[in-house]
Amino acid sequence: MSSFTTRADAALADPILKIAVERTAGTAQAKRAIAIDAFPDFEAARTRAAAIKDHVIAHLGPYLEQFEASAIAAGAQVYWAQTADEACRIVIAICKAAGAKTVARSKSMLGEEIGLPHALEEAGIGRVETDLAEHIIQLADERPSHIIWPAMHKTSEQVSALFKAKHRTPHQEETIAAMAQSARRELRGAMLGADVGISGANFLIADSGAVCTVTNEGNAELSLVPPRVHIVTAGIEKIVPSMPHAIHMLRMLARSATGAALTQYTTFYTGPRRPGDRDGPEEMHIVLVDNGRTKMREEGLAEMLRCIRCGACMNHCVVFRQIGGHAYGGTYPGPMGAVLTPTLDGLAATRDLAHACTLNGMCQQVCPVKIPLPTLLRGWREKSWREGLEPTSMRAGLGLWAWVATRPALYRLGTAIAIRAIRLLGRKGWIARLPLAGGWTQYRDLPKPAAQSFMAQYHQEQRK
């Protein structure tokens, strides 16, 4: 696997990617700002949303048992999986028992996290991704680059070419509306003909056993109502005590994700089809997936379990906006991904994600459940240091810095010399190239430093 640095370099060198990311993330940021302005109590609502999630995480075991009992009482079957592989095995077994040849999948990041698309392929079960963006990346054989807009990295020109190559009756007009219609034509029959519908869950309602999904396209309902079997794969942290708790979280989710007051379609599924119902699945199976979540709760990452997967942190992240989602290398990109990925994929392979952060705090500021993302990222940096995962050059550099920093006179002398040297490189107030830091200045200019250090100026003022 390539390193984060290699992937980030490739992303920075791709001018089309930058345009594509900026078009969607920029729009999302602007729309969210308007939605928050229109909801003056949003700040207090964030505090409440964080408190609801903290309450659930503190009592997660009993709430899961309550959900399980309610869902079974409603006629659903409930399964538990400790790992991604176990979750996939359960899903495949249900599909095989149902004699499924094709499944319609409604976008679920948990499904991506556990590798379900790949597991279905290995089991020889046809998979139709029904969310427009997931359909695009399925055709392109790529992975999602954003949790709300998985095809954010693609421009409309690229999508147009893809549909023309792969759709049976592609669009004629070069408009985004015509492209969406082409996908509608392509997918409708596949959704109606699927043997199994697979979804994730935005919320699991403990007291009723309901599973909540939200979409703007209506593809969840079209994927989950016609097939004979509905399978849900959900992370165990998706629990809320009751519908009114879910309602508070839904108000936060839609505004933070797309800037809408609510998604177009919000559905609560409670068990399979009832006697006399005209439609709906005959079987409903719910797989509750741990995959590292209990470990996060035990190891100081409980706050991360508040995450409702809105994507606001990445839309506002200066690093994500430069490199897009694929460079992060995991299922989840951006700040929330940089916190989650070391848990899912191991810190040794992902330690540099925590460094791909300016600690400007924007992610925490926009998070609807107030996750202290910069603090959690610093936690990974510290752990990486403690476990000796940082490279020798970094350890030596920091060691040298620490040695000098504990000797103030030497430190002042060193900075005075460095300032003079760096100022020589300045042109019109900016430094475009630094010896020994070419990688850093390749994508950035450094402002020319002041003639004297802050401390030197301070002492001068004091002497006046």
């Binding site: 503190a58 399964y79 176990e86 409708r188 609510l262 409670t270």
Partner: protein
């Protein structure tokens, strides 16, 4: 040890106290709604670009077919309608329409009755039942929704039914849309491209038990 036992063993924690969970819902922050004027509050949200729905008003249920005919004529669509098997609609004269109960994959127009609607968001609230299938409301191009004015409520907390839940309880807040290509909004992604709400001033007959 089963996966269930292993997960629950790691999540050993006190059972939640109901009053704690209830306290988290005290005086929730939510967008202001003028509860003395729910109809106009609802209609204002319905007209927002994000919801993108049209509306009409009828005095009584018997006026419903004419209102639907008017809408379909404006849209240059035939008088063909997928109609739910709801006995409350039997008082209407549907003789001008070709009615059917099962939606075609490319259905043109479907009628549904909303149990309630929410002024806060402009949402229409539905439940599945033997007289209320779900799929036709998603397959159709034009979704036509009958809503008694008296059923409009203020906030989303007013949407759920108390007690045991139906198989599906769903909220529709506008037409099917997507921003998946470059963040550009397009209506009619997979579901309805048009949502038309017909407000009923009179009462709906009660459903027979």
């Amino acid at each position: 040890m089963s996966a269930r036992a292993a997960i629950l063993a790691r999540l050993k924690c006190p059972a939640p106290i109901a009053s704690e969970a209830a306290a988290l819902l005290r005086a929730p922050e939510r967008p202001a709604v003028d509860v003395t004027n729910l109809e106009s509050e609802f209609l204002a949200r319905l007209a927002l670009p994000s919801v993108n729905a049209s509306h009409d008003v009828v005095a009584s249920l018997t006026d419903l077919p004419a209102a639907i005919a008017r809408y379909l004529a404006d849209q240059n669509e035939p008088l063909t309608l997928c109609c739910p098997p709801d006995p409350r609609l039997d008082v209407c004269d549907w003789s001008a329409f070709a009615l059917h109960a099962t939606a075609a994959p490319d259905e043109t127009a479907t009628l549904a009755i909303a149990r309630t609607a929410i002024a806060e968001t402009g949402s229409l609230i539905f439940e599945t039942s033997p007289t209320a299938p779900m799929l036709p409301n998603f397959l159709t191009l034009h979704h036509i929704v009958l809503l008694p004015v008296s059923a409009i409520a203020a906030h989303l907390e007013d949407a759920p039914l108390p007690g045991p839940q139906p198989r599906a309880h769903y909220w529709i807040t506008g037409v099917s849309g997507t921003t998946d290509i470059e963040g550009t909004y397009v209506r009619g992604a997979h579901g309805p491209r048009f949502l038309h709400v017909i407000l009923l001033r009179g009462e709906l007959p009660h459903m027979a038990d």
